[in-house]
Every structure is written in structure tokens, then in C-alpha cells.
Amino acid sequence: MPSGRNISVSETSRPKLPRHAKLKFDETRQVWVILAPERVLAPDEIAVEVLHLCDGVRSVAEMIDQLAAKYAAPREAIATDVVAMLQDLADKGFLAEAREKTP
């Protein structure tokens, strides 16, 4: 599975979190966190929503459509933000892409 620093996120990407980046609800502090090597990231509410859509099947374009419909917001603005957030995660090495070929 290609993972991490060399991923370039586009609307055709089908991203998911790699095994070493775990999205988890922190019961003690009542917030969502991403657990990564020796780090804890605190995604905001919308980032959590995006990350829940990252299943390795859905494309980034589909996620954007879904969010644009839900928030009745301009697609373009959402697209910019979602791609930037995912690219940030990819640059840190905390994003993976589903394999190109499907059996």
C-alpha cells in the first residue's frame, strides 16, 4: 500500500488512514484524536467528518460532493479545504491510498 509522504492528493484519490494513524474518540477528554507515531493530532469537527469518509473506496470528489450538499456550501471552497487538509495529513505520512488495481 503506498502510504505517506509521496502521495499527492487530488479529487480522484481514494484515501484512507494507514494502520499507524488511528482515528479514535478519546473518552476521557471527549474529543476525537488521530494517534500517530509519538504524536497526537486533534482534528476539528469537520476534519473528523472528512476522515470518517476516508475509507479507501470513496474518492475525494465524492466526499466533496457529499459535504457540499450537506452544508449547502460552494463546492469549490470545500474542495480547496478538503484537499489541503488531506495533503497536510499525507505530508506528515499519515495518509494512505487504496491500491490502483481492484481484483
Binding site: 494502520r19 499507524h20 473518552e27 476521557t28 477528554r29 507515531p37 497526537v40 493530532l41 486533534a42 495529513l89
Partner: protein, 406 residues
């Protein structure tokens, strides 16, 4: 909408130059964490002090815990369960050499079962591919391997272990083959700083995600070896230049964390993010400590997981944790200093080791009355040519044979 990812990073070696973030503050931003002492996000579990390497700057205390005093498998499992229950999110399995414990796979599996994210901090020399694969299957999420140089001549001499460097390279490759992220930890000092550019390239070649360039911190074993390890000011200036250059050149390829040698800084480091503020570790024998060197401070009583107290109680109420918490304990020059909540007075262990009183301002600070005397002595040692190491071992240290020290 603008989704963001706040870095709630809480590296246990919270001594990097940037120190941009404060994990608990990011997660508990609605409250004032500085005064509430929430449970840390990550805990360092020192499973054993046994180690095949003998690095002269080992961060373990000079008084090592013997194998017989180590927590049992069941005791560690109970500790891991309790940590997860009170809100700890990550566990760092360290040592000594954590793979010297025969039950490591079982402990990693238990950490996974109770929902802890596990990191392994290892010298790597005892690992086989089968063992590493079993650790990955048990849920290990990240491997950090220490390197003593970029080639065996220097590296194996520093570690006091023949063939160690070659083995580390092999294990680093297996780590990436098993799709686990890799951190290269390089401890730097006068006798290997010239290799830094090659160490950076080695980390890139190993496909590491992160490189920690950690200058030796001088307490415990490293203080015994200060004359052989202390870099010169010129070396440090060169190092900072090399690191800054590599950080921008390798953006997106290799993340580089840089731990400055505080002897040459103006202000002390915010050691452990402040005493008892966002970190604790557990010693092989089960003591809950504010930092891995804290047992070097005599006169403090540290509570054990073997006591009748819960871990949360020890963290919140034990005398050793409350002794240097916050800013109330501070003498001058800290007391009236505008930086007192920036660095929390620096490192207690260093203050104790160099001034005899853990309640003093860390003499790394130029405002400490002890600063000039101590750092003049260190600079003289750096300029000298005492290169023989005192190797770390259970016998209190062994002086390097003269013919090896060049």
C-alpha cells in the same frame, strides 16, 4: 468550513528547539491545564534496564534496576490496562533494551487490546525478522531505532557492541518492509558530530519518516562522560546550520526534530514540558517518575505501582510530583522571571547534578548564578582531548581500554 488538524504533539523528549505545541493544552484548551494536571497523553514504559549496548550517555540512572526487581508480565499488563482506563493514549516501550524482555510481544498485544497506541524505542540489536513481524502483528504502530553513527567504526565503539551498526541497518529495513513507520534517533556529541550530514542521508536512504538529532543531555551517565562527549561551540553552530539546511531541503521526505544542547543555549529547556505537568514514566521496578532521570535526585520518594495507590493518585497527589510542579516552588531568579511559565525553570535533574539542589534554577540558564562557572568548565572540556568513554553497565561503569580511544 475549514477543517484543521491541530498538532497536539507531546513528544516525551519535549526538548526540541521549536517546542511548538503542548499536547494537553491543545486537547484541553477549554480549561487551564497548567493548573489541573490532566493525565498525560503518552507514557514511557521502561520495561528493563538490561541492555546489550553500553552507550556512555545512556539516559538510564547510574543506579540501574536489576533484572530481579523488574515488574512481572502480569504487573505490566495491569499497568497498561490502568493507563488506558485513566486516559493515556500512547505507550512508548523503552528501556534499557525493551526487546530484552521475553514477554514484549505479549505486552504489545495487551496494549493493543486495551486501546493504547504503541511505539517501540529500541537499539534493535536483539531483534530478528520473525520477532519484529510478531510485534507488528500484535499491533505495534511505530519503531524508533537508535543509531550511534553512520558507519560501524564510530558507531560500534560508542555503543560498545561489535556488529551493532550493521544489525540496526538490517532491522530498519525490515521495519519499512513490514510497513511500520520508522524514526531514526541519532544521539550526537563531540566524537560523532562530524558524521551528521551522513547520518541525515542514512535516514533518507532507510526511508525513515523522522530523524531525531538529539544532542546529549548531560546528567547521569553522560555527566560522567562529559569530558569525552561535550561538543565545542563551533561544532554546535555548524550542527544547527546543517540541521536547518536539511530541514528545508528534505521537507516532505524526512521530518527532522532537533534537540539543542542546553549548555550552549541562553534559556534552559522546558524539560519534560514542566515537572509533573504532562509526562511521567514508569521505571523497570514500577516507580512512577516525572522523568527518566528523576531517580538521580536524592531525597525524593517516588511511589510505585506496587504500592496501594492508583497511578492517577500518584500522578496527582504524590509528594515527588507536587514538589516542583507549576511555579510556586521557584526561587529567584526564576520567581520574578518573565519566562517562568515558558521553561518552568528548566531541568530539575540538571539543577541537582550541577548545583546539589534540585530546587535551584537550571544552571543552563544564563540567569543562574552557577551558569558561568559550570559552562566555562564544560567549554574547557570540549576543547580538551579526553576521548575515553566510561561505558554504561551494572558495575557502575567501565573505562574504555586506551588503545580503542585513538
Amino acid at each position: 468550513m475549514s477543517p484543521t488538524l491541530t498538532d497536539a504533539n507531546q513528544s516525551f523528549a519535549d526538548q526540541t528547539l521549536a517546542d511548538p505545541s503542548d499536547g494537553l493544552a491543545a486537547l484541553e484548551g477549554r480549561r487551564s491545564t497548567a493548573e489541573t494536571y490532566g493525565i498525560p497523553l503518552a507514557v514511557l514504559a521502561e520495561l528493563t534496564h538490561r541492555c546489550p549496548l553500553q552507550c556512555p550517555y545512556c539516559s538510564n540512572p547510574v543506579e540501574l534496576d536489576r533484572g530481579a526487581s523488574e515488574l512481572t508480565t502480569d504487573e505490566w499488563k495491569k499497568v497498561l490496562s490502568e493507563l488506558a482506563e485513566i486516559g493515556v493514549l500512547q505507550i512508548h516501550f523503552s528501556g534499557g533494551e525493551p526487546t530484552a524482555r521475553k514477554d514484549l510481544v505479549e505486552l504489545v498485544q495487551h496494549a493493543s487490546d486495551v486501546g493504547l497506541y504503541s511505539n517501540l524505542i529500541t537499539s534493535a540489536v536483539l531483534l530478528t525478522r520473525e520477532k519484529l513481524s510478531a510485534l507488528a502483528d500484535a499491533g505495534l504502530s511505530h519503531v524508533q531505532i537508535s543509531f550511534q553513527g553512520n558507519e560501524p567504526m564510530v558507531a560500534d565503539r560508542v555503543g560498545g557492541f561489535k556488529g551493532g551498526h550493521a544489525k540496526k541497518l538490517e532491522v530498519a529495513k525490515w521495519t519499512r518492509e513490514l510497513e511500520m513507520p520508522l524514526t531514526v534517533n541519532a544521539v550526537m556529541h563531540r566524537q560523532n558530530l562530524h558524521q551528521l550530514p551522513d547520518i541525515i542521508q542514512m535516514a533518507v536512504d532507510l526511508d525513515a519518516d523522522r530523524l531525531e538529532v538529539a544532542n546529549v543531555q548531560y546528567y547521569g551517565w553522560a555527566l560522567k562522560n562529559r569530558a569525552a562527549l561535550m561538543p565545542t561551540l563551533e561544532q554546535i553552530e555548524e550542527t544547527s546550520r546543517i540541521v536547518e539546511d536539511a530541514q528545508s531541503r528534505l521537507k516532505g521526505i524526512l521530518a527532522i526534530d532537533y534537540v539543542v544542547p542546553d549548555y550552549y543555549a541562553l534559556r534552559p529547556k522546558k524539560c519534560m514540558g514542566g515537572w509533573g505537568r504532562q509526562f511521567f514514566n514508569i521505571s523497570p521496578a514500577g516507580k512512577i517518575l516525572p522523568c527518566h532521570a528523576a531517580e538521580s535526585i536524592t531525597g525524593l520518594e517516588f511511589e510505585s505501582v506496587r504500592s496501594n495507590h492508583s497511578i492517577a493518585w500518584i500522578w496527582q497527589n504524590s509528594e515527588a510530583f507536587n514538589r516542583y510542579r507549576g511555579t510556586g516552588w521557584m526561587p529567584e531568579p526564576c520567581k520574578s522571571c518573565e519566562f517562568k511559565e515558558v521553561d518552568f525553570g528548566g531541568c530539575r535533574c540538571q539543577a541537582f547534578a550541577l548545583t546539589g539542589d534540585a530546587g535551584n534554577t537550571d544552571p543552563a540558564c544564563t540567569l543562574s548564578p552557577h551558569h558561568d562557572r559550570i559552562f566555562k568548565a564544560a567549554a574547557e572540556e570540549a576543547a580538551g582531548n579526553h576521548n575515553r568513554f566510561i561505558y554504561r553497565n551494572f558495575a557502575g561503569g567501565t573505562l574504555e581500554p586506551v588503545n580503542d580511544a585513538s
